[in-house]
Amino acid sequence: MVLTLLKESIVFAWQALVSNKLRTFLSLLGITIGIFAIITVFTIVDSLERNIRGSVQSLGDNVVYVMKWPWTFGPDYPWWKYMNRPVPAYKELEEVKRKTKGAEVVAFRIGSRKVLKHLNNTVENGIVSGWSYDYSQIKTFDIVDGRYFREDEAEGGYNVAILGNAIAEGLFPNNEYPIGKTIKVAGRTCKVIGLFKKEGESMLGNSMDNQIVVPFNFARLFMDVKSENNDPFIAVKAKSNVTNLQLKEELTGVMRSIRGLKPLADDDFALNETNLLSKNFDGMFDAIGIAGAIIGGFSILVGGFGIANIMFVSVRERTNIIGIQKSLGAKNYFILAQFLFEAVFLSLLGGIIGLLLIYLLTFFADGAIDMEITLTRSNVILGLTISVLIGIISGFIPAYGASQLDPVEAIRTN
């Protein structure tokens, strides 16, 4: 019985919307714009966040980086304290390996931008990374063709290289096969032995696409290991039963003893973790999210007022029909449901159109920019939820008012 009445009220609501197409369209436009604004902001923020978290994760979750500069930012960053610190040296690597009991892998990395050449093809500012052999156990990457360099090649400083996708495309256009070919890295001949899988743009700028990896002992021939410009660091991966905190405590002692620091002297090195980067970005994304929520929230609120307005008009127009329905035995909740469904339909339709527009936008954005932008399930749920709730909130007062009308008074209304 109740279901039949509900079904009838849905049919009434649908007929009312179909009979006033232009009014329906204009009313739902407000919600469409509101949902479009707010979910677009969330989609972009979520995609950026996912990209950055992916980049951070590729650096390793349980890895501590021994560096000159700490990964903390903000207006109170005491850069003058860190300026005169020495950069981590390769000779410290062996000592860290020997003294740190909680370390599973210890590796060294150096990198800078160099000119890369193959015949007439040149890549300016290609990032050349010199890795010690074990760095492959710290950094996450995939090789689609060829191989990683062997330990003897790393120790012997062999002139072998693994190319990132963008570098390979720059040096070997027209789908030329790069493996086994010779290229020039900063004027030195180098044999290509591998090709990294395409990763796409990274917000942190650490995508393997723009990198070429060579053994550290080869890179040191054309890069100054002591120069800050070449960003040298030691990466230490913790054993599975050792926490990052424990590893940091042990590393602090090890590094202080290596550098011969007096008990009261400040550390002259920074121990960085990937979660420090994540924390810095969390604040930024929260701020963007809140700003987006406020702007989009007001748009939706305005859309809600539009629907409430149109519902009041709708009730006014159909007052005598309400009177007839009530005099023929229609219950209050039937009238309430009829107008409430109308408001929810309007709002939901607006929300669905807004979400479809966002889907189209992400579809085109995928082709235009080198970053994956996706409309996530949580944002679709949020968009639909908001649409329905705004429909109920904006439609409830006029619908309840209609349900409370006196049938005699209502029939008399013109």
Binding site: I38, F42, F285, D286, G289, I290, G292, A293, I294, G296, G297, I300, L301, N332, Y333, R377, S378, I381, L382, T385, I386, L389, I392, I393, F396, I397, Y400, Q404
Partner: protein
């Protein structure tokens, strides 16, 4: 419409909560709420919508408005406890809810029993 004339205090409570509910809707979009789960904003939104409906009931001096307000206040508390998001603001909100419900209980007999 109503069994008795609406006391001013009920009007203040209802209008205050309606305005509060509309602006609380922004909370649904808060990154901290979104992070708690896909369906958490939906749950919070449903509670806020029910709170709004209960206020409409109060404006019409309906008993179901009071009943709904009590259900919403209890559900909100349980919801916040289950998600471990109880803070000073939430405790204040709960205290206000208890105060409102006490006032409404005082005027309960004057209210209409019909839908």
């Amino acid at each position: 419409m109503a069994k008795g004339k609406r006391p001013k205090i009920i009007s203040y409570i209802a209008y205050g909560r309606i305005i509060g509910t509309v602006f609380s809707l922004f909370m649904i979009f808060a990154p901290s709420i979104k992070r708690l789960g896909d369906f958490v904003p939906m749950g919070l939104g449903i509670l806020l919508t029910l709170q709004f409906i209960s206020c409409v009931g109060l404006l019409h001096m309906k008993r179901w408005g009071v009943h709904l307000l009590v259900i919403v206040a209890t559900s909100k508390l349980l919801f916040q406890l289950s998600l471990d998001i109880v803070s000073f603001n939430q405790i204040m909100s709960l205290l206000f809810s208890i105060a409102y419900i006490s006032i409404l209980a005082f005027h309960y007999k004057k209210m209409d029993t019909n839908l």
